[in-house]
Symmetry: C2
């Protein structure tokens, strides 16, 4: 390798290493604030965290660093540059072009808009009144348009640019096709479920379980799916999340709700995210690439564990005896079949985060259709609540009674557009690689015998190995040998719900 290039590459990596020390510290402080930090200490600790974050940012926003990183990017195809060095320089370049025309003043202005939007959103949601949120929603919309306009390279539509930030290489053309198919088949599947006279009992899910029983259940679930406690930790928070603090420190949280199955699927979902981070190649961490899988890829894995594994007959059969042992007061008169059916009830509902496996993607498609129109200029902010309610009525057959259970339910639009589709894409990705896995492994038998080493080994080798280096379409092709399609996902849902509801 050229000597100058070698020096620049070293400078880039050494600087990133230093900035990661600050990042690690901030991650610990944030986790602490989410879990145990006392209320009156939050503000000061938030300031400490912001100070350290800024110290870390300064390092990677220096002219010297950017110049070196761009030099490496320009010379990335030269002899002696390793594959991962090249991936690293491409990642840095991608981040750089996003912000190169953004002045610090502009950035601060945007932060303020987002902060204001969050405060107004909370207020509006509390009052169930979109009118309170509408003026700042306009500002967020303008901000998103401005963010696109400041890019040197633009995609087919303004919305495409934002979407690409979350899910590289995926376009509105793709989503119109895939989500269109999805919408039509799911709406008709839901109609069949609703026409069925199948009765499913769910009463027992709401029997009160003490927190320490729920904690035992959550730990058992993590142990079962193969979460590595020597490289991770587990606790509770109001809103469950997974946080990668460092290479050997992936933490998950869950919550204990009235419906105790919420804890089970929450922890299996977050456990899936964690397994992804625990089982990517170790070099990803050495090359600062550990978060380079897209949001959709990450979500595909968490939903693989939550739905494809967690809500399967085989998994319910595996965990049923243990649940009876840990929570006899809730489970003593419940059969394995009753448990399986209860966690797979499908019915239209207002709130995305509480939606079942069948209707979930419809919630996403509604948001996609609306935000695309908002961004591309075909929908006025003032018309949004009505458009939202109309779509809920059309696709799910229910009309939100107010804005709080309608258009105001999610926080995402306080900062921008393009995130929502990744949730539904995750469902489609995992359906494709699950079908591939089934060709190579007797997945059902492995789950029934609790052999997650085999399942996770396959995931590691096929799904996790290149996730941080490839775009989603390339990645799916690499794993399955096929082009992206929503068909696997839809076929699976139709087969599953047909079997449960008897049609």
């Amino acid at each position: 390798m050229d000597k100058v290039l070698e020096e620049k590459l070293n400078l880039v990596k050494e600087t990133l290493k230093k900035s990661y020390v600050y990042r690690n510290a901030c991650a610990v402080l944030q986790f602490d604030m989410e879990t145990i930090c006392p209320p009156k200490a939050m503000e000061a600790q938030g300031e400490t965290s912001a100070f350290l974050a800024n110290e870390g940012f300064k390092l990677i926003k220096s002219d010297e660093f950017i110049e070196a990183a761009e030099y490496c990017y320009d010379h990335r195809n030269e002899e002696g540059v390793s594959y991962l060095d090249r991936v690293l320089t491409e990642m840095l370049h991608r981040e750089y072009v996003k912000i190169k025309n953004v002045t610090p003043e502009k950035n601060l202005e945007w932060q303020k808009i987002s902060n204001k939007a969050y405060v107004k959103w909370l207020e509006a949601k509390g009052a169930a009144d979109f009118g309170i949120f509408a003026p700042v929603f306009e500002e967020v919309k303008k901000m998103n348009i401005e963010q696109v306009e400041l890019r040197d390279e633009k995609k087919a539509t303004p919305y495409d640019t934002l979407l690409d930030d979350y899910e590289r290489g995926i376009t509105t053309e793709d989503l119109d096709l895939w989500f269109g198919k999805c919408r039509d088949r799911l709406v008709s599947l839901l109609a069949k479920v609703q026409a069925s006279d199948k009765k499913i009992r769910t009463d027992f899910l709401f029997r009160p379980l003490e927190d320490h029983v729920q904690e035992k259940i959550a730990r058992y679930m993590l142990e079962t799916i193969g979460f590595d406690f020597s490289r991770g930790a587990f606790t509770t928070t109001e809103h469950p999340f997974t946080s990668g603090l460092a290479k050997n420190d992936i933490r998950v949280t869950t919550h204990y709700r009235e419906d105790f199955s919420s804890n089970i699927f929450s922890i299996v979902h977050e456990g899936g995210h964690a397994l992804f981070s625990q089982l990517i190649p170790e070099e990803n961490y050495d090359y600062f690439l550990e978060d380079e899988m897209t949001m959709g890829m990450h979500e595909s894995v968490s939903r693989f564990f939550e739905n494809r594994i967690g809500r399967s007959r085989a998994f319910i059969s595996l965990v049923y005896p243990k649940l009876r042992e840990l929570a006899p007061e809730a489970m003593n008169d419940v059969s394995e079949e009753e448990l399986y059916e209860a966690v797979n009830v499908a019915q239209p509902s207002y709130i995305r985060t509480e939606a079942d496996e069948l209707t979930y993607s419809l919630h996403i498609i509604i948001r996609y259709e609306l935000e695309k129109e908002l961004m591309n200029g075909n929908l006025a902010v003032a018309d949004l609540p009505k458009a939202w309610n109309d779509k809920y009525e059309e696709y799910l057959g229910i009309r939100p009674r107010n804005d709080a259970e309608g258009v105001l339910q999610d926080v995402h639009w306080t900062w921008g557009y393009g995130y929502f589709p990744t949730y539904a894409l995750g469902n489609m990705y995992n359906a494709m690689y699950f079908n591939r896995m089934k060709k190579e492994l007797d997945v059902d038998a492995l789950i029934r015998s609790g052999n997650f080493a085999a399942i996770n080994g396959w995931m590691k080798e096929n799904v996790f190995a290149k996730a941080c280096y490839l775009e989603p379409k390339e990645w799916i092709k690499e794993i399955t040998g096929r082009d992206m399609t929503p068909d696997d996902y839809l076929d699976y849902l139709e087969e599953k719900y047909g079997s449960i509801y008897g049609f």
Copy 2:
């Protein structure tokens, strides 16, 4: 105030403020490592913490800072310098003179000796063989002598200099007198207890309680004594501790042992430390003086809550019904009187940390007598185990069967001498202010009614208010109007144990 002085004082305070941000971050990282950080992430997080600590240290070890701080110290009595500014400059000067002749190389050398001593101590303790520890113990001893020799100002004996670092203004002359009295009266009190034919049952303390029950007990104890959960947090660790992370962030931990009363007195002890930090004047934090109380003062408060409150008849009467409610499986056949007696059993034992209230100070006095002689040159390292065992036999009537339950039990001698006496001093301090409190408040009635607001209010006004500004002797005189004496402490123990054991 003189303009130069004003500028220097501002520089000092602004620099301390910055360094406290790093200190806050390190404290959170350390707490995280003690409580939830996964095993394989410890090393990296330790490095992050060390890096940040060093960034903070650099600020307050710069020539500019030291020069400014010393300037302020020299001008501390000038007009316009506030009381707390003066206390702050005196504290900084005290810290400075300790290290002014210590080169960074010397400091590193000492750190290495301490680290090596810790490793060897663990090994020696595991093998119950002082011989393994002896060579490095010699090095630690030499290091302590060197530390004293490098001071510009020296106290009456080498040991006095070390003692003064932990307990300002207390001398070996004081301790020889106070601990001498203490030893004689406690040895004779113990003889009376052992001659008594009183039978006390303790079987029920060892009935197994599940962790979630013990957690409820610990929380109840903290709530009862008035721990402020909005400015503090609580969790479990192998070795209980209290950590002040920030002004509004004082955290305590406890452990769940076979003997469930261990949890109760642990959490009340740590809760006492925490109340001290939560109830000192808020300005102490603004002037970086929040840790300026001596070790003995801090220990006096934790032991006040653990023993004077926690092991009193009134407190047992207060908590007895709740303990029966929370742990019926352990308490259903136990009377209030039986509980009171069980937590006040006195008997000689080998291990300091498990000692009862009566014998505790004898363990300390033995250590004091030995480390004073070691430091002042009248005891050879090789003779230490025998000297230790002889003293245990003489004062407590038992002879350790090996070094692990004898001379190797404590970690303190891996770094130095002078710490141990503070534990016993704490017992004496609180006996004096407890007697003062009883003249002003009906303490017994307040405890029985759970009115800790009144008790803590008195502590705040009398005990906590000036602790960070005064030396122990001044402080005790200020609170009680009397000079330091061990008599109150010894009178109390004689009265209490006479009443329990019937003599």
